[in-house]
């Protein structure tokens, strides 16, 4: 299982979707491993290998869940960063307008009696 990381834009969204698609198989693997362990328990077999298989399946499922959460957070963070950058540019443009006005109506009060 390879979970891609550090992608941007559409690639990040595609990676998130690809990771989400891994989840059903991982869930099925956990269910299968659990069923095999139950069977081994019922038959009095050595449960060691089955427990190990279940642990591995659970670990993989957790890794996918973590990757999904991480990617979703990254995508959201990048979106917020982009929004903040646009907002900052809008504010800067507004300030620029005000500065131009102040410059246009600049005057000196030197020689003013008050």
């Amino acid at each position: 299982m390879r979970i891609p990381t550090g992608l941007r834009g559409a690639a990040a969204s595609a990676a998130l979707q690809a990771t989400e698609k891994m989840l059903p198989d991982a869930l099925q693997a956990v269910r299968t491993a659990q069923a095999a362990l139950n069977m081994a328990l019922a038959c009095g077999q050595d449960t060691g290998p089955f427990r190990q298989a279940l642990e591995t399946a659970v670990r993989q499922k957790k890794a996918i869940h973590s990757a999904i959460a991480e990617k979703a957070a990254q995508i959201n963070q990048r979106r917020q960063d982009k929004i903040s950058a646009v907002a900052a540019a809008l504010i800067a443009a507004g300030n620029e307008t005000i500065n131009r006005l102040l410059l246009q109506y600049q005057f000196t009060i030197e020689g003013n009696s008050q």
């Binding site: 929004i83 646009v86 907002a87 809008l90 507004g94 102040l102 109506y105 005057f107 009060i109 008050q114």
Partner: protein, 173 residues
Amino acid sequence: MNPIHTAADFAQAQADYSDTAAAAEKCADTFAALNIRMGEKQQALSIIQQRRIDGGEFDSDAPTIALLQLDADGLQPLVETARTQHQAACEALQQAQITLQQCQARHEAAQAEAAAQTLEARLHELENLLLSGIADLDVLKKKATGSIHIHGETLYRFSDRLRRFLQQGVLPA
């Protein structure tokens, strides 16, 4: 209205619009692709039908028609779902556009208000300077003429443009 807040809202609306437009485009592509597939099935059926009308009948027609019909029947709910999703996406895009326009208008109004406040404050400073200058002028003219009182236009004559604005509210050109 604070331009910082309206800028944040405007930027958010731009991002929302962009996301909604991308989703709408995806829905439109899916809908178009399904429509094309449905069209192909229907066209294949029509060709067979026309050929049979023209006298060209094959034994393989019956299973082919049945398969094509099954495909078309299977595609129909997919086309309907895609149509509904496409329509919903178009409505969402329209709403996002309205929100974007409202946010833009609010931001431009807030910017104009902030700029107006700045300019108004600057004009008050200029007015104070003008009045200070007139007070100085009063002192100088009294000294120059030896008069005790100097009033009105003798002291300072405002320009016609300014007087028209003050008296009639006519904006200077």
